[in-house]
């Protein structure tokens, strides 16, 4: 059921040759792996998926399934089932016949096709729903049936095009659990398109981050967050802290002070922007000293914004140029830190921010 998938410099041009929708995207997905293609709207992620499915014909580049080029192969011969954002259940068929569709068109007798479909309805926890018309399902149930229908086609690669985006958060969570259970049981190779960072983090083993048709980074979720390749990646992943400066002798020097590279890593000498996740920063009482592996910076809370269970603190770094904490004399160097909403830090309070060296990365400005 699972195959490896390799994309080799895939290019897709629609109208304007100067602005390809997909511009030289390459990545590999191992059998049984789940890759999330993450990107903002218009980044070309759906086009990549449609090219893999054979619904769009790439302008250049190769798509290999188990090492074999699938160029020129019609969509129905590629062995890839797709689940779209809309369930697209065939309205003239019952739930069971929808799931049995792939077996029916493959020429299996109706009875066997239906027996087979029954198993997949059970797999998505909809046993007993087979005889219903598809209009008698809720949105979450519809998407489960769509998933069962795709799995029943025994795809070599399962393609998911923002399949859970239209569901409410609770249902989306249920679907993530279901997908994890399916992966544990059937180990299909999955390529999923999403614009939701959290969904990619929950569902996928690795993430391919796309912007304007280009692959910015193909990496594990954790590395995308903590070791972005570029400022673009950091920003797309929601990173808010950027300190422009220069790396001299393995230490990044900026208006906020010096931060040495993490143990065992080296940063390229010269100018670079230090990025660190707002979730990684720790806020301690004013005057606290830095433990091993941390850099301490004296700060003043310049702003505080509620973010549900968390609070977002904008911290103005007190530098040698502006040693006192009067708001008008605070420097422009700001750090953003997320703390639990219960922390009683108010605007104007002094504090110490502890920057873990292991969470820092320097990228090219």
């Amino acid at each position: 059921m699972s195959a490896s998938l390799t994309l080799d410099s895939l290019v897709k041009v629609f109208d304007d040759p100067a602005r390809p929708a997909v511009d030289g995207v390459s990545f590999a997905v191992a059998p049984g792996e789940c890759l999330a293609i993450l990107g903002p709207s218009g980044s070309g992620k759906s086009t990549v998926l449609r090219s893999i499915a054979g619904l769009d014909v790439p302008s250049a580049g190769r798509i290999l399934v188990d090492g074999t080029d699938v160029a020129g192969l019609a969509p129905e011969r590629r062995g890839m089932a797709m689940v779209f954002q809309r369930p697209l259940l065939f309205p003239h068929l019952s739930v069971l016949d929808n799931v049995a569709f792939a077996a029916t068109v493959a020429g299996q007798p109706k009875r066997e096709a239906r027996a087979d479909a029954t198993q997949f309805l059970e797999l998505v926890q909809l046993a007993g729903f087979g005889s219903r018309p598809v209009t008698a399902l809720s949105g979450g149930q519809e998407q489960r049936v769509a998933l069962a229908r795709a799995l029943a086609a025994r795809p070599r690669v399962l393609l998911l095009d923002e399949p859970f985006s239209a569901l409410d958060p609770q249902l989306r969570g249920d679907m993530h659990v279901l997908l994890a259970a399916i992966r544990a049981q059937l180990a299909p190779t999955v390529v999923m398109v999403t614009h939701d960072r959290d969904e990619a983090a929950v569902v996928a083993d690795r993430v391919a981050l796309l912007q304007r048709g280009r692959l910015l980074q193909h990496d594990t979720v954790e590395r995308l967050y903590t070791r972005p390749d570029s400022l673009e990646v950091s920003r797309l992943m929601g990173g808010r802290n950027e300190l422009p400066g220069t790396v001299i002798g393995g230490v990044h020097r900026s208006a906020a002070g010096g931060v040495p590279a993490p143990e065992g890593e080296t940063w390229a000498e010269g100018s670079g922007v230090l990025v660190v996740r707002q979730e990684a920063l720790q806020v301690a009482a004013a005057g606290a000293s830095a433990p091993e592996g941390f850099v301490a910076l004296a700060v003043v809370v310049a702003d505080r914004r509620a973010r549900g269970p968390r609070a977002e603190l904008e911290l103005a770094v007190i530098t040698d140029d502006a040693p006192d904490a009067r708001p008008d004399s605070l420097g422009s160097t700001r750090l953003l830190a997320e703390v639990p909403a219960s922390r009683p830090l108010a605007v104007g309070d002094r504090a110490t921010v502890l920057v873990p060296r292991s969470a820092c990365t320097v990228v090219a400005g």
Partner: protein, 301 residues
């Protein structure tokens, strides 16, 4: 400064809210008006049928008498003697043939136009709708000469012209059907392993079937009820029901025969219309009566 609105108090006054929702609610007296309009419409459609029904069973009906003066089925007998049955059959065949050709052609044109793969789509749409704007008589007079010169058999010529006349209806109906049709269903079917043919048979046609039925019905009516083309191009070699009606209606004292023929002409469209109402509707809807463990409220995804 934030607006100070106590909890529980609505920003929009209640009566204004209900007024705006009242757009959906029948006005006072609206029901009576609807019933009155429906009654007038029903009478308008039904009244012409009453004298027709009476004439069909009248041997004689002198002018001032409110009801036929002599009852009988002379009209029916004469109509059958004059070849009403074969004419009925020819009309039926003509209507079916027009529907069988114009419906797929209209569907193809509509699909191409809807998908935006036609160059100069506005011009093509206008051309396809042109037969509606052009008086049939004008087109037919010109084409008769052409078709005669080309030695096209009269019956075939009639069929060709009627298909052209039916195309605007089928194209328009199918454009409406395709506008509501979602190509993603077909793409989904392809990725599930269905060939182009399987997609056509198992997904595409079932999804547009109601539209096809409506288009075929309209095309059938064009063939079934045509008079001008059959007379001018057929030149009397193809005697259909409307021709028979026309020739008897032109004479005097044939009211009973005309009534019988006219009633016969109503039957097939009526039967088809009823069939359309019965089978032409979209897919089974949620009449499922069992428990629906819906976890999201109705209407939300």
């Amino acid at each position: 400064m934030a607006m100070m609105i106590p909890y529980g108090q609505r920003i929009t006054p209640d009566d204004r809210t209900t007024t705006s929702r009242g757009l959906m609610r029948p006005r006072p007296g609206g029901r009576a008006l609807r019933v009155a309009v429906a009654t007038v419409l029903a009478l308008w459609f039904a009244l012409p049928l009453v004298p027709l029904l009476l004439w069909a069973v009248a041997n004689r009906w002198s002018f001032p008498a409110p009801l036929p003066t002599a009852w009988g089925v002379d009209g029916l007998v004469t109509a059958l003697e004059q070849g009403a049955a074969p004419a009925f059959g020819r009309s039926l065949l003509l209507g079916l043939a027009v529907a069988a050709i114009a419906t797929p052609l209209g569907a193809l044109a509509a699909r191409a136009l809807t998908r935006g793969i036609v160059p100069a789509p506005r011009l093509v749409s206008a051309l396809l709708l042109a037969p509606l704007a052009l008086p049939a008589f004008v087109a037919v007079m010109g084409l008769t000469v052409l078709l005669l010169r080309a030695r096209v058999p009269a019956t075939l010529a009639v069929l060709l012209l009627l298909v052209a006349a039916a195309l605007p209806y089928t194209v328009y109906t199918m454009r409406v059907a395709y506008a509501a049709h979602d190509l993603a269903y077909e793409e989904e079917a392809r990725t599930l392993g269905a060939s182009r043919l399987a997609v056509l048979v198992r997904v595409h046609l079932p999804l547009v079937a109601p539209g096809l039925a409506r288009a075929a019905f309209l095309a059938f009516l064009v063939g079934w009820s045509d008079y001008v083309v059959t007379v001018l191009v057929g030149g009397g070699s193809l005697v259909t029901l409307p021709l028979l009606v026309g020739s008897y209606a032109a004479g005097v004292g044939n009211e009973a025969i005309v009534a019988v023929l006219s009633l016969g002409a109503i039957v097939p469209p009526l039967v088809l219309l009823l069939a359309l109402g019965r089978f032409g509707r979209r897919y089974p809807t949620a009449r499922f009566t069992g428990p629906t463990p819906s976890r999201s409220p109705k209407g939300s995804p």
